[in-house]
Symmetry: C2
Subunit: 298 residues, 2 copies
């Protein structure tokens, strides 16, 4: 559902109005119940994709290899001087079905002289914050797209597309009351369960850490986070979005099985190109759904 | 050594000139040798405290409890609207011996509703970047002050003050060529060995991770980083400084012994207040040294 759509509202049928009322009552009931039964432990962003007016989507994609097929597919153009010149970050923008789309990538490392992509939470949070500031409140949804590890124990397979229900950290252990909750940093993300069902995608929590691999303690915490997928940026980007009160949604394609017995880095490198292609197929479909002004009539 | 000090230069004695030439020759020799013997593996910032013209010091101090005694001691005043209103960060400013001093703290958590200090790399990097942007190139040195864990095996004891020689990460394991170096993220910091010797402080590498505690793999990597102290922000702040080409120096007071057999959190909580007092004593001395226009004559 979008903001300025008076014509469509005027045309809506009585049945549609009843449907909306019914949805409204359900939402109220869910909110009421969640006050008394906070079973998930996730702080809610309270946004449901179908209820959002989306005029501009900011899409952080960490790696160039992940972003390029999608940027080309949408015909997005590089934006000069979008980011301050002392940062390595890049921006591409354009339109898709009358919705503005800005893709940002984290650029290549110069600080350590490696030339690799600036992966991880620190650069991801900074780039997202700067992009949101640059776009001055014009962003309705941050859609963080990229590859991830998937958990076999949660039904993930290579190539699967996951839409996040929440994010959390598994490498910020601070065993002091209050700090422990801060460290884990659980946040609910946009509710995209209807969209996932419609597009045949899976949903689940994305757990974030700055390592590509994992140690036993990480795995304990990834289990505690009830994670379906694992990445290196989602929780930091979602933190940045929460601070700016912008809804966050993760769209993650599985490159490797975390609990599958093969070293992450081998599987990741073998599947990165095909996952980028899979992401390029999935992202336009998600974007189509998010931008669809007529969705309520479907 | 500072920038605008022609009067002092005019007064310098022949002996002082010879001393400078001698220091210059030694610096050249060290630079020449370091080209052929890069034994430390740290990317150099190439700054020596005694050679720097320091008119403005930015001092990121993560926790309020760490910052308050120092802010009061220097009589710094809160700066309204220094940071964007959607961030939790705080700034205090004033002067010390004609040098501008800006202290920033990471504020209290609202995103997760815990109210604890926003510790860790993500918030530290963002706050430092925003502060450097706000001060528009006016900062000559970032002096990151705070508490840390110390390694007995490197001679650290509770209450010791360490000046950093370098920083690195121990929780960013990315076992892919190039990414591994990026993940570790070693950076040399300002050379403050003379100052440390003069003030009776210790020097060493600060290793950074987002956990207060550590697991076996962390310890392996902390050893590889040749760390004397361990914190939760230094490497991220130094990365931000390197991006902006601003020299970084860590001033860290030991609250707990990492390899001492007592749980970090217990020792940390027991010693936080006394370490903050120790920091409050050390920081003005470091600042006095850094700001001292007459140091070359000493």
């Amino acid at each position: 559902m979008r903001g300025n759509h008076n014509d469509q509202i005027a045309k809506s049928s009585e049945a549609n109005t009843r449907k909306k009322m019914s949805v409204g009552i359900w939402h109220c009931l869910i909110i009421f119940l969640s006050l008394f039964y906070p079973t998930t432990g996730l702080k809610s962003q309270g946004s449901i994709v179908e209820d959002m007016a989306i005029k501009h989507v900011l899409i952080p994609i960490v790696m160039e290899a992940e972003a390029t097929p999608f940027v080309k597919h949408l015909g997005l153009k590089p934006v000069a001087a979008f980011f301050p010149s002392n940062t390595p970050f890049l921006a591409f923008s354009g339109e898709h079905h009358n919705t503005k789309v800005t893709v940002i990538t984290l650029g290549k490392d110069k600080v350590y002289g490696t030339g690799v992509d600036n992966v991880g939470t620190v650069s991801a949070s900074l780039a997202t914050y700067l992009a949101l500031s640059k776009l001055e409140g014009d962003v309705d949804l941050v859609m963080n797209a990229g590859t991830c590890g998937g958990f076999k124990r949660k039904g993930a397979g290579i190539g699967d597309v996951f839409l996040t229900t929440g994010v959390a950290n598994h490498d910020r252990r601070i065993p002091i009351p209050g700090f422990d909750t801060y460290g884990t940093g659980k946040l609910a993300t946009v509710d995209s369960s209807k969209m996932a069902s419609k597009l045949g995608y899976k949903t689940g929590v994305c757990t974030t850490g700055n390592s590509l691999d994992w140690v036993e303690k990480d795995d304990d915490l990834m289990k505690e986070n009830d994670a379906s997928v694992k990445d290196m940026e989602a929780a930091a980007i979602a933190w940045t979005c929460a601070m700016s009160e912008i809804p966050y949604l993760g769209v993650k394609v599985v490159t490797d099985i975390v609990d599958g017995g093969i070293a992450t880095q081998e599987e990741f490198m073998a599947n990165l190109a095909s996952a980028a292609e899979s992401l390029q197929k999935a992202l336009p479909l998600v974007l189509d759904y998010v931008c669809d002004e007529t969705r309520e009539e479907l």
